[in-house]
């Protein structure tokens, strides 16, 4: 690789050609602050917090290090009084139109702006006191709130919505001081074709966008003796929750998470993995049925509610490709209020069904039609991984010193196949483990690992042959990638049998409800890969790695549902979709 030699603060640094000053400085263990910059997503050099002095032989001048490429012999200075004062003044100017209500801000303590103000010793938050914009909150969407009084116009949310997800329902409106990040024509986000993926929240450096929360209602339900408050946790939560308690990214915290939920007061702590195994039983059966009986192919997974909403808005004519399976969360809720309620002699009306998800679209999903198997909603409340972390703090639980505990039976049993649902390709691999087993005459030594569908690439393809049947599969994560697959399907050019699509890039591990990762880490780490490692480690460590070998799931079918895709299974575990529009006019 061709390299370039520069000095940073007098220290020699060799960095690959094409690097920016920011990247070269990272190699020299110097963190330059950034606010607007997000690697490959938002490289606009707009916020000016990353300014450094660079001398290319014509004297030192201030440049934006996030986008300024290094040149041979360049001398960079990152901490001169001129640089530090410039950054401080930039912060003071940002604060001049920021509400500064840190004490009541959901992001306090983890805010990138707040940290910079501390680092740069901002003494006077009113240094440039003057006119301020005042915005109404946008609470129109089911899953989130936008508070532009805290927005710093960095445009990270705009970039991720448009470039990563290919949606673009938010953007910068008006000009100059009146610039506001919002939707067209003052429409509330809930009135647009937003899919609720929450990637905008995940990248926001401040507290301007945050999920709506029902945590206080959950606590009230827990305090009510007449209610059975039961919680389920999605696979990806255990791969990221530890980050909120300063554990290294990719640390699996299943045992401590279960212990924490028990201490919060949930009557039963169950695992969505149980329902993920049920999903595989239903989905693999549905797929084989479609293959055998000439159903709509390719069949596409339906676990990701952001993806489902996207398909309904942007590809309404293709909803027949979606598996009719409810998502694992909803299957779990449905089984909790039917099968488990019957088992326990509980009235479904007395059950409060709660989930912890890496996802904000789940907040939209729980309010969907046809998600009420017991005549009451399958789910009552859902919270994100971030909300759980805050709740753990609120309840005074010292997470890191908790013992490792295990899920309750029977809906706490999950296989290795289920836990990898949280990473892109995981549902596909889990389905293949069971489908190949079914196709090859039900032997016990059918293959376990399908590595072709693993990894963080946006689109993966593979072909498998088993029992005389050839299956061509595709896996996509991130909606811009989903669009590529869907355009092929729409044009009749896709010869896939089965497609897995996840709304968020990298799958649920990188979901919009996961702990926010500051740009200083995000720009130099592949969050998707690091968190996925935790899930694949849990899969390898599990003695049972195929969904159809889950004993509790076998029992569920034997005792209650009969067989996968039975009439009863259809009533409880399957759903329908609606055609939506992109524009309401």
């Amino acid at each position: 690789m061709e390299t370039i030699n520069i000095t940073i603060n007098g220290i020699a640094v060799e960095a690959p050609k094409g690097s920016t000053i920011l990247q070269a400085a990272k190699l020299a263990s110097i963190d330059i602050p950034t606010l607007c910059y997000l690697k490959e997503i938002n490289e606009i050099g707009a916020c000016r917090i990353c300014m450094v002095e660079a001398d290319e032989g014509r004297g030192a001048r201030l440049v934006a290090s996030c986008v300024y490429p290094i040149t041979e012999g360049m001398k960079v200075y990152t901490n001169t009084p001129k640089v530090l004062n410039y950054r401080k003044k930039t912060l003071e100017l940002i604060l001049s139109d920021h509400d500064k209500k840190c004490l009541s801000c959901v992001r306090s303590g983890k805010c990138e702006l707040q940290k910079l103000c501390k680092d740069y010793g901002i003494e006077d938050t009113e240094a440039f006191k003057g006119a301020m914009n005042e915005y109404e909150l946008d609470c129109s969407a089911a899953h989130m709130v936008r508070d532009n009084n805290k927005c710093i116009n960095c445009r990270r949310c705009v970039a991720v919505c448009e470039k990563t997800q290919g949606i673009g329902v938010i953007g910068a409106n008006n000009r100059g001081f009146a610039t506001e990040i919002a939707s067209a024509f003052g429409l509330g986000l809930g009135e647009t074709a937003c899919v609720a993926c929450g990637q905008c929240i995940a990248v926001c450096p401040v507290g301007a966008i945050y999920e709506k929360t029902d945590v206080d209602k959950v606590l009230e339900a827990i305090a009510d003796d007449t209610k059975h408050v039961v919680v389920q946790t999605a696979p990806a939560v255990r791969a990221a929750l530890g980050e909120a308690f300063d554990l290294p990214m990719g640390t699996p915290v299943e045992g401590k998470m279960v212990a924490a939920l028990r201490r919060i007061g949930f009557e039963k702590v169950f695992d969505t993995n149980f329902a993920a195994d049920v999903t595989i039983m239903e989905e693999a059966t549905e797929l084989l049925d479609r293959v055998t009986n000439g159903g709509v192919l390719p069949m596409i997974t339906s676990c990701s509610p952001g993806w489902i909403k996207y398909c309904e808005h942007y590809y309404p004519e293709q909803i027949g490709h979606l598996s009719s399976c409810k998502s694992p969360q909803q299957m779990f809720g449905a089984l909790l209020k039917t099968y488990y309620a019957e088992k326990m002699g509980w009235d479904p009306k007395d059950i409060v069904s709660v989930s912890v998800m890496p996802c904000t679209a789940k907040k939209f999903e729980i309010g969907r039609e046809d998600q009420n198997a017991a005549g009451v909603p399958d789910l009552d409340y859902t919270m994100t991984t971030r909300e759980l972390a805050r709740l753990i703090d609120k309840c005074g639980i010292n997470f890191n010193s908790l013992p490792e505990e295990t899920f309750d039976d029977p809906m706490g049993e999950g296989t290795g196949a289920a836990v990898i649902f949280g990473a892109t390709g995981g549902v596909m691999e889990a389905a293949l483990r069971t489908a190949v087993w079914k196709l090859t005459g039900e032997t016990n030594d059918s293959p376990i690992e399908f590595t072709e569908v693993r990894g963080v690439e946006g689109i993966k393809e593979a072909t498998y042959t088993a029992g005389g049947v050839t299956v061509k599969v595709a896996v996509a994560s991130g909606l811009k990638n989903a669009k590529v697959i869907m355009d092929k399907i729409k044009a009749g050019e896709a010869d896939y049998t089965f497609v897995e699509i996840m709304g968020c890039p990298g799958g649920c591990v990188n979901g919009g409800g996961q702990p926010q990762v500051p740009a200083s880490v995000r720009n130099f780490t592949d969050i998707r890969a690091e968190r996925a490692k935790a899930l694949y480690a849990l899969d390898s460590a599990n003695a049972v790695r195929k969904s159809h070998e889950n004993e509790s799931v076998k029992k569920l079918y034997a005792e209650y549902l009969g067989a996968p895709n039975s009439h009863k299974a259809h009533e409880i575990l399957h759903t329908t979709y609606v055609k939506r529009k992109v524009h309401e006019i």
Binding site: G171, N173, F185, G188
Partner: protein, 163 residues
């Protein structure tokens, strides 16, 4: 969230739509086509309501927000039609110190629209302008070509009643 959709019902014709579609088809594959398309759309319709911006977005395969962001960045793009009677209030220095701001507010109140908007019946539109060259008459407003000077807010209802 307050909607910024115009209060005047959209009255685009089939001919206008065909003309716009032709403009889009001719330009959409060129780099930087959005602004010229928007300018021509404004020539066709006179302004760029949500209906027109949606046609542009769908025609170009981009999001509505992208079009709207550009439409609100440049002051030459209008989101509202002009009324049969176009009211311009001078907010230049001389008129402003003589109280044209109060006249402007009174007009917003009486017409029940904000500056830049048009009444639902399409009769009046209201804009601010800078100096009509009649500073001696400050504060000044114009309704189409008619100039009104030495205005007091209380005179506004009677003046509007003439139209």
């Amino acid at each position: 969230m307050s909607s910024k959709k115009t209060t005047v019902p959209f009255a685009g014709t089939k001919e206008q739509e065909e003309a716009l579609m032709k403009v889009i088809a001719e330009n959409k594959d060129q780099k930087g086509a959005l602004m010229p398309i928007m300018q021509q759309a404004q020539d066709i319709y006179g302004y760029l309501p949500i209906e027109v911006q949606t046609m542009i977005a769908d025609g170009m395969g981009i999001s509505l927000e992208k079009v709207y962001g550009v439409a609100t960045f440049y002051s030459q793009f209008a989101l509202n039609p002009k009324g049969k009677y176009q009211i311009s209030v001078c907010l230049g220095t001389a008129c402003y110190v003589k109280g044209s701001g109060d006249v402007y507010s009174k007009l917003e109140e009486v017409l029940n629209i904000k500056g830049g908007e048009c009444t639902a019946d399409g009769k009046f539109s209201l804009d601010a302008c800078r100096c009509v060259g009649a500073c001696g008459l400050a504060p000044v407003m114009m309704i189409n070509d008619e100039v009104y000077g030495r205005l007091l807010p209380d005179q506004i209802p009677d003046i509007l009643a003439k139209y």
